[in-house]
Symmetry: C2
Subunit: 348 residues, 2 copies
DNA sequence: CGTCACTGCTAATACGTATTAGCACGCCGG
DNA sequence: CCGGCGTGCTAATACGTATTAGCAGTGACG
C-alpha cells in the first residue's frame, strides 16, 4: 500500500484555474454577498476544474475554520449494539438516524470511551466530544457529575429521558411516565380495584422515579397502595406477597418480571386477569417470549430519538431560547391483563 | 444560550505554565525521543495546569495536523437501523463496535449521504468520507463505480462481503459461501439425493454468485441439478415445479422463501424432510416465525464485523502488505430438514 | 580558550478551509 | 486631471495541534 497520494486541495484547484485559494473557497460556498463578487466566467472556470479533479472539501479543515461539522455525537452508557437481539437502544437510534439523515448530519458513536466500573465515561484523557457539534446522551442512568461538567463547559447536548438538574437544568427529550402510570392507576380504580401494588426495578434512575411518582399521586384514592421492588427471579415470592396482601392489581415496571409473574400465577391455577390484573409499565427492552398482550403503555422511543436530534440542532445553532425540556406522551395499550377485582368470585 | 465560551487551548495552557505551545504539545504526546527532552519539573507544571483547567485536545485540529483521527467510518447502503426490526446490519455493527472499542476508535455513521434511486450514494457534493481515517462498507449490493472511485482516490476502506475487482482488487472480509454450499450439496449427495434444485434470490450480488458457484461445482455429480430464482410469494408454483421435476432436495438462498416452501408443502400433506428436503443457505435477515430448525449454515456476521475493523486498521496504518481479502468459514447447522430421498416410499 | 556534545526548550511552519480588509482597475462626473 | 465609486479579486490571517530545525546555555575535554 503506497503512501496515500496527497489529496486535492483548494490550492490545487486555485493553481489550475489561475485564481487564489480564497476565490476557490468563495465559489465553493456560493458566496454572493454585497462585498464578495466573482465574475461568472471565473466562477465557471473554477467549477469546471473542481468537477474535473473530483475535489471534495476536507471536512476536518472545514470544521477547524468554521466551527461546525454537521456531526452529531451519540454517547451510550452501554454498548450501542448489545448482543440480545432486541435491544434497548435500537428504537432510539432508529429515530436519531432518521432525523439526522433529514438534516444532513452524520452520527458519531463514541465507542472509544473507556469503561470504568462497568460504565462508560464521557470524560477521560483525550476526550473526543468536541469532534461532534453536540451530543445525544443515551442510557437509563446518566452520571450526574458528568452532566455537571457538560453544563459547566457549555457543551451542547441533549439527554434522552428526563434528568434532574445537574448544576443547572438539563436539556432533555423524555417520556411522560408519570402521566402514563397515573392513567393506568385511574383505569384500575375505575374498574373497581382498591388494593394495589407497585413493583419497581429498584434502581434510582429518573425514569423509575417518575413512574413511581405517577403511581403515588393517583393511588392515594385506593384502600391500599403498596410499593416494593421485584425482579423476574423473585416471581414466586412476589406472587405470595400479592396474594397475602389481597392485592388485585400489580403495576410492574420491568417487562420480564410481569411475564414471569403471569407464568407463576398460571402454574398455580390462577388466571390473569380473572384472579389478578397485571399492568406493564413500558414495552420490553429485552426479548421475552410471551403470547399475552399486556395492558400498559408504549414508550415513544423512536419519536424521542427524532426529537432529541431536532432539539440538539437548535441548541447547537443557538436558536433554543432557553434549556429545552420536552416530555412526550406515552400511548396506552389496551391489552388483556386488566380485569375487575373479584371476577373470580363469580365463577368459583 | 450564551455564546459558547472559547474552549481552552494549548496556548492557554502554555501561557499559564510559562512555556511555549510546542512544549505543551510535546508533554501531551509524551514525547521522549532522543531529540525531544522536557525537564521533569516543566512536565509536571504543564500537567498540573492541564489538570486544573480540564483541558482536552481538540480532535479536529489534531486530525488536521496529524492526519489521523481514530475515527472509523461506517457506510451502509440502507439505513443502519431499519424499522421493520428487519435488521440485516445489526450483527455486523455489533462486531464492528466491539472491535472499535477495543482499538479505541469512534464510529462515524454516514447518515448524511443522500439517497438517489432508492440507494445511498457515497460520492456527492460535500462528500464527508475524509472525516474518518477509513471506512467500512456494508450492503448486499455495492456500487462498482463507487468502489472504482475509492480505489482511484486511494481512500482506505474495507468491504464487508466479498467483492469483485473494481479497477483493482477490493479489500474485503467476506463469508465463504461457496465452500459452505458445496459442503451442503455433498451432504445431500451422501444421503443419496440425485435430483437437486437451487432456488436463488435473483440478485446479482457477489454473495449470491458465490453460493451459486459452490452449488454448481459440487452438483456436477448429480443426475439433475437445476437452478432458478424464487421468492416467498412464489412458494406454491415453486413447489409444483419441484414435484414435477422430482427434485428431492432444494437449496434455498432466502430464509423467508424456505419457510414459505415448508409451509406450502405441509398444506399439501407433504412432510419435510420425509417427502422433500429443504436446505437454508444462510440465517434469517428478517424475523420469520418458524419453529422448524432448518439444516444449512450460519453466516459469521459478528466476526466479519470485527475482522473488518481489524483489517481496516491495518490498511490505514499501512501495515497491510497488499490488498487484504479474507473469507471466513460458515458454520454448518445440523437441523431437521435434510433427509434421504424416497423416505416416503418406505411408508406410503 | 576554542570546540564539541548535550540538554531543554522555542520559533516557525504545516495541515486545509473560511473570512475579511483592502488593493488595482476602470469608469464616470465634475 | 482628480475624486469617488463599483467591480473583481487577493493577501493575510485565524482555527488548534504536531513536528522539526535550531538556539541558548552548560559543562567537558583537548
Amino acid at each position: 500500500m503506497p503512501a496515500t497520494p496527497r489529496r486535492v486541495t483548494q490550492r490545487d484547484i486555485a493553481r489550475l484555474a489561475g485564481v487564489s485559494q480564497a476565490t476557490v473557497s468563495l465559489v465553493l460556498n456560493n458566496r454572493a454577498d454585497a462585498d464578495v463578487r466573482i465574475a461568472p466566467e471565473t466562477r465557471d472556470r473554477v467549477l469546471r476544474v473542481i468537477a474535473e479533479t473530483g475535489y471534495a472539501a476536507d471536512p476536518v479543515a472545514r470544521r477547524l475554520a468554521a466551527r461546525f461539522n454537521r456531526i452529531i455525537g451519540v454517547f451510550t452508557y452501554e454498548p450501542a449494539f448489545p448482543s440480545g437481539s432486541r435491544d434497548f437502544f435500537h428504537p432510539f437510534l432508529l429515530g436519531i438516524e432518521e432525523y439526522a439523515e433529514r438534516v444532513g448530519c452524520d452520527l458519531l458513536l463514541f465507542t472509544s470511551a473507556p469503561v470504568v466500573d462497568g460504565r462508560r465515561r464521557i470524560f477521560h484523557q483525550d476526550n473526543r466530544l468536541r469532534l461532534a457539534d453536540g451530543c445525544i446522551l443515551l442510557g437509563q442512568e446518566i452520571d450526574g457529575e458528568e452532566l455537571h461538567r457538560l453544563n459547566r463547559d457549555g457543551y451542547p447536548y441533549v439527554a434522552v429521558g428526563r434528568r434532574d438538574d445537574a448544576g443547572g437544568p438539563v436539556p432533555y427529550v423524555g417520556a411522560d411516565y408519570a402521566t402514563a402510570v397515573r392513567r393506568l392507576v385511574e383505569m384500575a380504580l375505575d374498574r373497581g380495584h382498591r388494593r394495589l401494588t407497585y413493583l419497581g426495578m429498584g434502581i434510582t434512575a429518573e425514569s423509575s422515579e417518575d413512574r413511581r411518582r405517577g403511581y403515588l399521586a393517583a393511588a392515594a384514592a385506593a384502600e391500599s397502595a403498596r410499593h416494593r421492588s421485584a425482579t423476574a427471579a423473585d416471581a414466586e415470592t412476589v406472587l405470595d406477597d400479592l396474594l397475602a396482601d389481597r392485592s388485585t392489581v400489580a403495576f410492574v415496571e420491568d417487562f420480564a418480571t410481569v411475564v414471569a409473574l403471569e407464568r407463576a400465577a398460571r402454574r398455580r391455577g390462577l388466571a390473569v386477569p380473572r384472579d389478578l390484573s397485571l399492568l406493564s409499565l413500558g414495552d420490553p427492552t429485552v426479548p421475552v417470549p410471551t403470547d399475552l398482550a399486556f395492558t400498559g403503555f408504549r414508550i415513544p422511543r423512536e419519536e424521542m430519538g427524532r426529537q432529541a436530534v431536532e432539539v440538539l440542532a437548535r441548541v447547537i445553532d443557538g436558536s433554543a431560547s432557553d434549556v429545552p425540556q420536552r416530555l412526550l406522551p406515552c400511548e396506552l395499550v389496551e391489552g388483556d391483563t386488566l380485569g375487575t377485582p373479584g371476577q373470580a368470585a363469580g365463577r368459583p
